[in-house]
């Protein structure tokens, strides 16, 4: 729970306003210095248009005490996003969709006599299955002849990461954790294959752009006015480049996981039934599916009407999961890339701008299916540490234990030199009982796999 009437730690850069918490609810203050732009956003019809097209988070103007009353013009209460995610947790297509709606918003804003003054992926969140702009104060009135101030930010925060991932490796998207908001263009240009210099769009907006940034540095610049058509042209050119970028989907070890099931389809179907039954029984507000792979069990939870975050460490699995969400227009699933042995840390100023994975919890219910053996044997995480971790991130836990005689576990053990005698059901239950009450225990039909329903001890 956030402190009463406290400013959000990530909300310190924009002089136009800030986000704050009051009695657990999130609000945004619009400062007096932004009055002209905010009022124009509303009166020009741009706000209405963007909200109607699900491009901007809707808000209502409220009368709530402000932490800085001398600067207040309005206090608005935006609809609350159920889970905040960051670009280093997105798959390629999520970042691509975020880039495309940013450009669509810029075009719509230009039509209404405004422009986006920021173009950072951190202003986009996934809400009801779609990317949406959450920073209502991102707009300013268009001044005739002004270049697009957020062009550099767009290239470094959207275009460069997407181009790098498309031409090298999807895993480069995790570099957001290092560069935070903007990839340095000279760095990206140096990693891109030479053939990208022959793609006019990439050559211009990445290679030439990087060269000019280095050459110009802090030098004086003759400024020339830019016509509005040039701004439209710029948006269309960037749209064309982004739309043409495709992720290289190579089959990964994890993306074909379900093709090589080590247990019977009967047990797999039984597992689905058990998960559905327990989710219905708990009727949780949120579920975190940890090690979700392509989201088969996340979909069971989501089909029960529960908002489900579907985490997996493999960007290919997350890409496939997100593609499925889009195809089926699923609004209750948020697929994200997350390595549980190295979850997202707090980053940015004072490590507080972007919350760590743990800080965004606890969730009501966590699913940990076919995960324990990978953490225990693959990553040497003892049961005690595992149980403690789960107790910190969830109130209820649906967890599967795969005994040592299972084919998958035997395979994992055969590659290890260490002694794994401690990997037993008794030790598993003992370690988890220190943090959880075991409510139910079921052996899956035709297998030795065991499902547990646990409730955290308070």
């Amino acid at each position: 729970m956030k402190k009463k009437n406290s400013k959000h730690p990530a909300s310190y850069r924009d002089p136009c306003g800030f986000v704050f918490f009051h009695e657990g609810e999130l609000y945004r203050q619009v400062n007096l210095c932004y009055r002209e732009h905010y009022d124009y956003l509303i009166s020009s019809g741009l706000y209405k248009k963007l909200v109607k097209e699900d491009l901007l988070i809707p808000h209502e103007e409220v009368n709530v005490p402000s932490p800085e009353p001398s600067r207040v013009h309005r206090v608005i209460k935006p609809e609350r996003i159920p889970f905040t995610s960051y670009p280093y947790e997105w798959c390629f297509s999520q970042l691509k969709d975020a880039a495309l709606i940013t450009l669509k918003i810029q075009k719509t804003a230009l039509n209404h006599g405004m422009v986006l003054k920021d173009a950072t992926p951190y202003n986009i969140q996934f809400y009801k299955g779609k990317p949406v702009l959450i920073d209502t104060l991102s707009f300013e009135i268009y001044r005739d002849g002004e270049p697009w101030r957020a062009y550099r930010q767009f290239c470094q925060g959207f275009l460069a990461p997407l181009v790098l991932a498309a031409y090298t490796d999807l895993r480069t998207l995790s570099l957001f954790r290092i560069f935070h908001e903007e990839y340095p263009l000279d760095f990206v240009a140096s990693l891109l294959p030479s053939k990208t210099k022959f793609r006019p769009g990439i050559f211009t907006h990445i290679h030439l752009h990087a060269g000019l940034q280095t050459k110009m540095g802090m030098s004086q610049l003759p400024e020339r006015k830019i016509g509005k058509n040039a701004l439209y042209g710029l948006v269309e050119a960037l749209q064309g480049i982004v739309e043409g970028l495709k992720p290289k989907i190579k089959k990964s070890v994890w993306s074909s996981y379900y093709e090589q099931l080590s247990y019977t389809s009967g047990a797999f179907e039984d597992k689905k039934k058990v998960v559905e039954e327990w989710i219905k029984k708990l009727s949780p507000s949120t579920v975190w599916d940890l090690g979700a792979n392509v989201g088969i069990f996340s979909r069971i939870s989501a089909s029960c009407g529960v908002f489900t975050v579907s985490f997996d460490m493999d960007p290919v699995c997350v890409e496939l999961n997100y593609t499925e969400c889009k195809k089926k227009e699923e609004v209750n699933i948020l697929p994200l890339v997350m390595d549980l042995t190295n979850p997202s840390p707090g980053i940015g100023w004072e490590n507080k701008e972007r919350e760590s994975f743990m800080e965004r919890g606890p969730c009501n219910t966590a699913l940990a299916l076919a995960l324990v053996h990978h953490l225990a044997i693959g990553c040497n995480v003892p049961f005690g540490k595992m149980a403690q971790f789960f107790s910190r991130i969830c109130k209820n836990l649906i967890i599967e234990f795969i005994p040592p005689d299972d084919e998958r576990v035997k395979l994992l053990l055969s590659r290890k030199k260490e002694n794994f005698e401690w990997y037993s059901m008794e030790n598993f239950e003992r370690a988890f009982s220190a943090f959880f009450e075991i409510q139910e225990k079921r052996v899956l039909t035709g297998s030795s796999r065991v499902m547990y329903l646990m409730e955290g001890k308070t």
Binding site: P147, W148, Y151, I226, A230, G233, A237
Partner: protein, 57 residues
């Protein structure tokens, strides 16, 4: 379009501004041509539609 010089501190984003200025003419021209082409296509389509409707009547 007027030229003028900025005096004082210039941030390292100067290269990005310069690129936009360099691209402005060509992007603006392309957008104008594309727009004109779209409008022309619409007119032709409309004219055809009208023609077809008249034939039907």
């Amino acid at each position: 379009m007027g030229f003028f010089l900025i005096h004082g501190y210039i941030d390292p984003g100067s290269g990005s501004f310069l690129l936009q200025i360099l691209l402005a003419f060509i992007l603006g021209a392309l957008f104008t041509i594309k727009g004109a082409w779209r409008r022309l296509k619409e007119r032709i389509k409309k004219a055809f539609r009208k023609g077809n409707e008249e034939e039907k009547q």
